[in-house]
Amino acid sequence: MPVEVRLPTVLRHHAGGQASVRANGETLSDVFDDLVRQFPGLAHQVVTDDGALHKFVNVYRNDDDVRYLDKLETKVSDGDVISILPAVAGG
């Protein structure tokens, strides 16, 4: 399924400066694999070597935080917008 992936500013230089790119897959895991195939610099930025979502990254499928869905196994549909945002925190 083709989806739109919106990249945070801090990752855009890995995708030629693009704020939004297209990727394909049945699940988020597939989508991120396709994203890395297109833009190898995005490897390890969203998904850890253990195959999990990075702790300091929030990912939304449309308005839903995927941590409350099926995480990287969340299914995606044609036209979904996947938003990647850095966690903003401190003290």
Partner: protein, 133 residues
């Protein structure tokens, strides 16, 4: 240098005071060059702590979309220090999410809140002037 409208500064300080005794936080929308924060996005501190803050992720998403719809972008984050100076803590430096952002600290340790802004790049803190218009 970071420009803030008087209204944005006022809203930011009010949000920080309203968050006491916890740290308050929010996002700044505007233009990156020149750095001009024209929209304030007060957010919930989901850490609910007097020592830590975490911007509510869903509010972050909505702020990002709203800024884009306005032809702007998120250019930084603000948060309060309830009992310490308006200077980035080691935690602030370690967790700074974007080297392009402006990090605004609001200290509430004195009667008059102090607002200062910083760039944090590769662990290096550099203070910048804040111009209030």
């Amino acid at each position: 240098m970071l420009r803030l409208s008087a209204d944005v500064r006022r809203q930011m300080v009010e949000h920080c005071l309203a968050g006491l005794p916890e740290e308050a936080c929010g996002l700044l929308g505007g233009t990156a060059e020149p750095a001009d924060a024209t929209v304030l996005y007060p957010t919930r501190n989901v850490a609910a702590s007097a020592r830590l803050y975490t911007v509510d992720p869903l509010q972050h998403l909505r702020a990002d979309r709203d800024a884009e719809q306005r032809g702007l972008e998120l250019i930084g984050v603000f948060h309060s220090h309830t009992h310490t100076e308006a200077y980035p803590s080691p935690t602030d430096v370690a967790q700074a999410p974007d080297p392009g952002w402006h990090y605004v600290l609001v200290s509430l340790m004195h009667a008059d809140p102090v607002v200062r802004s910083f760039r944090i790049v590769d662990g290096t803190i550099e203070e910048e002037a804040v111009e209030v218009s």
